[in-house]
């Protein structure tokens, strides 16, 4: 049976925090009911975007013109935040965030190469909204729990990735190593498993993996034009490529010479070998440990073995892997609650869900997120963000505290109306806020500081003015507290 604390834990880890409705629904239900709700999200319609603009939900800011999240990157960022706040498929957004960090691709380089409209389309176009293939983030959402091998293959042909890691200039005569290096160093098994010569061979494997422009030059900011993946056999190195590791199940280390027309198979063979390798399974397991279980202890080898085993036994499919993790003893261990540093996007989404959003636009979080160190669609480099303590610096903590102030200021009248019933004593008041906001447990020293704050300059029962001021001040202190920065 799940108690309310466990439900909240699973919803923080698998999503962006539990709503009171979530707790009511799953409290006293079997743990598997919460896990199935999170993992089997394809039973729930993916209709969150249709709620954008409706009054019951957090707002968006279009600026001049219409809200255009398929062609305007600032709008795309707002749409993703909106999804994190309101999606009924929270694990899908959570996994999209995980993969966005794993296949870290930055919009600015894409836009520099193809312009802002096509750059946004490559990052965020929803399937079918405009001509052209879906944006990278939609790919990550669609394949979030699919097989990793399939996802890797899709990513290798994803227009944003092809631009990002210079696939467009990977020519037969002059191979380009950028994608070849990162697919091994960062996307699959990591440094130490391959040689420099393997990087050069892998670069030749992906020669000719390029893009073609459709319906116009496609850098003219025409939303109807687009780029799509294009395999150019004339630029493919058709000769054999020898690796230091096994490519084929029989042990063969050489991708054979084959006609250029069939050269796409080179990449499929290499991707299959990398995705299915036990070292890739282990590396993904270690990353999933940090993402879902704990950043405060190194991965338990038994967890790594179990998760890597599940990954390999299921032909690299992620859904059984994630389901296993959520039902595993490591996830259910109460001692591992609050052991993960909240990413800025997670922090902001959870804060909005808990403090409230009536009259708020998610756009108010856009610049603060940059100051916290996480601009969506703009990871600092292909290795993704520096996680864990990497989020925590003085400047970033100021940005988090200041976002808490912005949100509390925006919501102070909503908050004080809701808190009015608890205005009699500071204890009642604190109780109300700790029921609504979810920091990690607050020890007596900071708790006393909060109580002293409530007493300072106010008389209780609180006057109307004090009620508003202390509601805003306490919400700011709690959401801006260090305790709140963990999930």
């Amino acid at each position: 049976m799940a108690d309310s604390e466990l439900v909240a834990h699973l919803m923080r880890r698998g999503g962006f925090g539990a709503t009171p409705a979530d707790v009511a629904r799953f409290e006293a239900a079997p743990v598997s009911a919460v896990v199935d709700y999170l993992v089997d999200y394809d039973r729930v319609p993916d209709d969150v975007d249709s709620k954008i603009g409706q009054s019951a939900y957090v707002g968006v800011t279009a600026g001049a013109g219409a809200f255009s999240p398929d062609t305007n990157i600032e709008h795309a960022r707002q749409r993703w935040l909106f999804r994190m706040v309101h999606s009924q498929r929270p694990l899908q957004e959570k996994m999209a965030l995980f993969w966005h960090n794993h296949f870290a691709t930055a919009y600015s380089k894409i836009a520099g190469a193809v312009g802002s409209v096509h750059g946004t389309k490559m990052m965020a176009l929803t399937r079918g909204a405009l001509p052209g293939p879906p944006g990278q983030i939609e790919l990550l959402r669609e394949y979030a729990l699919d097989s990793f091998q399939t996802l890797l293959f899709e990513i290798a042909r994803d227009p944003a990735m092809v631009v990002w890691l210079d696939g467009r200039t990977n020519f037969r005569a002059r191979p380009q190593e950028n994608f070849a290096r990162e697919i091994m160093e960062l996307f699959t098994w990591g440094v130490g498993n391959y040689t420099e010569q393997d990087v050069y061979a892998a670069a030749r494997v992906f020669t000719g993996w390029n893009l073609s422009a459709r319906q116009g030059p496609a850098n003219n900011n025409d939303p109807g034009a687009y780029y799509q993946f294009f395999y150019n056999p004339n630029q493919h190195d058709a000769s054999a490529k020898r690796f230091s590791f096994q490519i084929y199940p029989g042990g063969d280390k050489t991708i054979p010479a084959r006609p250029a027309a069939d050269g796409l198979r080179d990449g499929m063979d290499l991707i299959a070998a990398l995705a299915g390798h036990p070292e890739t399974a282990k590396r993904l397991a270690r990353k999933l440990w940090g993402f879902f279980i704990s950043e405060m202890e190194s991965p338990d080898p038994r967890f790594v073995d179990a998760v890597a085993g599940a990954y390999l036994a299921n032909d690299t499919r992620m859904k059984p892997v994630i389901r296993y993790i959520f039902g595993s003893p490591w996830m259910l261990d109460a001692a591992r609650r609050w052991t993960r540093y909240a990413w800025p996007a997670e922090y902001v989404a959870r804060a909005i869900r808990e403090v409230g959003w009536t009259g708020l636009s998610v756009d108010s979080a856009r610049t603060p997120l940059t100051n916290m160190g996480q601009t969506l669609f703009e990871p600092p480099d292909v290795a993704g963000w520096s996680l864990g303590t990497g989020w925590i610096s003085t400047g970033a903590m100021l940005a988090r505290m200041n976002w808490a102030a912005t949100l509390a200021s925006n919501q102070r009248f909503n908050l004080s109306r809701a808190a009015a019933a608890a205005r009699r004593t500071p204890d009642d008041f604190m109780g109300f806020f700790l029921g609504r906001l979810t920091p990690a447990p607050i020890d007596s020293v900071p708790y006393d500081a909060l109580m002293a704050y409530l007493a300072g300059g106010a008389s209780w029962p609180a006057s109307d003015a004090d009620l508003v001021a202390k509601s805003a001040g306490l919400a700011k202190l709690l959401v801006g507290s260090s305790e709140y920065q963990f999930i």
Binding site: D166, T169, N170, F171, A173, R174, P175, Q176, E177, N178, R181, E185, V191, E196, V199, E295, M296, S298, T339, Y341, G373, P380, D381, A383, S386, T389, G390, I392, S393, T394, G395, A396, M397, L398, M401, N402, A405, T406, A408, S409, R412, A440, D443, V445, P446, A449, L450, A452, Y453, G456, G457, A469, A472, G473, K476, L477, S481, S482, E483, F486
Partner: protein, 420 residues
């Protein structure tokens, strides 16, 4: 006055907090630790700088044969003479400001810096340069270990990181170096009146002074938040700095301007960290001395030139040492995208009033013959000549006045170039 210090190390994570300390007291610490004394400004060129385009071997025929598109024409380079091996060299044409500094004898260029078995990975490379430990590049940074040698309690502003993320090099055991990408954003806001805002700040300071030994990660976050709260007022003073020169309008130059303000205001910072990116030039580096790489050089050179002029006008040149590095140099031969892939040996520079300018080390012949001993990776990359830790050692001993052997885990002074 109540001071409590606790440090915890767990999983390589350091948690540190200082109990509540008033700004005035911190100024005392700063003065005690020598405000307006020597400072080091580290400039990191992020992405792996193509050293052969920065310091151009323009009389090496292989430079032109291996870089038919992106080589800088001989007529454009800014000549700076020859190195001790007799190789004639020139600066990138956009580095006019640095050439002036070179001519004044205040720019030292250390060629072919690096280490054995150079990592071609950005991330491993950055960690190796950050920890100064090619074998085990995790844990504390080399500058962090220096900060740990300062008398306790270490001023939170002893280190100043002008980028958003704390670089490995500045990870210290005893102090969390503040990240101050923009002084204007280094302030605290409130939903309430000034009187209520002061109560909030007092509560936040009290809350973040809490350093529970059994919750080291909470203590770490509290330490960062408290560092912010206790340095706000001093950093705000820097925001009012009016420089003596006009800095270019880009992030790198504005960060240098802030650093100049901090030096002039006597904050007492010992180590500054500034970075400019875009050096991972796999494609479109530019031809005929122009293009993307030229833009990078303008940003780098013009920013440093303004900073140098500002400090000279303030009479602070002799207090300042600028040290530039990047995680690796790039492949000698250009690729098919008019770019260059990850390579090995690179270039370091030092600038300052106490620098002994000139060309240190020797340029390699770029002859691709596998028998060329100055290259590696089958003639593809530059083999290092000067261990980067030798340069670090010279800076630690000759500038920061500390024992380099304990900080670097070995004595690298034997072959250290005498740049200061």
């Amino acid at each position: 006055m109540k001071i409590s210090r606790r440090a915890f190390v767990r999983d390589g994570v350091t948690a540190f907090t200082v109990g509540f300390a008033a700004p005035a007291f911190l100024n005392d610490i700063a003065r005690a630790q020598g405000a307006r004394s020597r400072n080091l400004v580290v400039v990191y060129l992020s992405g792996g700088n193509d050293a052969l385009s920065t310091i151009v071997p323009y009389q090496d025929p292989f430079y032109y044969s291996r870089r038919p598109a992106i080589a800088i024409p001989p007529g454009q380079v800014l000549q700076i003479g020859s190195d001790s091996g007799g190789r004639t060299l020139g600066l990138h044409p956009r580095l006019t400001g640095l050439r002036t500094i070179f001519n004044e004898g205040r720019l030292a260029i250390v060629q072919r810096t690096g280490y054995a078995n150079s990592s071609r990975s950005h991330f491993q490379g950055v960690d190796i340069w950050g920890t100064a430990d090619p074998r085990s590049p995790t844990g504390l940074g080399w500058l962090g270990r220096y900060l740990d040698t300062l008398p306790s309690p270490v001023d939170p502003l002893a280190g100043w990181n002008a980028t958003r993320d704390t670089p490995r090099a500045l990870v210290a055991r005893t102090v969390g170096v503040p990240a101050i990408p923009d002084v204007r954003l280094y302030s605290l806001s409130s939903p309430n009146t000034p009187a209520e805002a002061a109560r909030e700040r007092a509560a936040a300071t009290e809350m973040t002074s809490y350093a529970p030994a059994d919750r080291p990660h909470l203590a770490l976050v509290n330490g960062s938040a408290l560092s912010a709260l206790s340095t706000l007022d001093r950093v705000a003073v820097v925001g009012t700095y009016a420089p003596t020169v006009t800095y270019p309008n880009n992030g790198f130059a504005l960060a240098l301007r802030t650093v100049a303000g901090s030096i002039v205001r006597g904050i007492g910072t010992r180590v500054y960290w500034v970075s400019t990116g875009g050096f991972d030039t796999h494609a479109g580096q530019g031809v005929a001395g122009g293009g993307a790489y030229a833009t990078l050089m303008s940003t780098f050179g013009d920013g440093l030139a303004a900073f140098y002029a500002d400090l000279r006008n303030q009479g602070l040149l002799n207090d300042t040492l600028i040290l530039q590095f990047s995680e690796f140099g790039r492949r000698i031969s250009e690729n098919g995208s008019e770019g260059t892939d990850h390579g090995a040996g690179g270039v370091m520079m030092a600038i300052g009033g106490s620098v002994r300018g000139g060309l240190y080390g020797t340029a390699a012949s770029l002859d691709p013959s596998p028998s060329n001993p100055l290259l590696e990776n089958n003639g593809a990359d530059i083999r290092f000549e000067t261990d980067f830790r030798a340069v670090y050692a010279r800076v630690l001993e000759g500038w920061l006045g500390t024992n380099s052997t304990s900080i670097l885990g070995g004595n690298f002074l034997a072959n250290a170039p005498a740049i200061i």
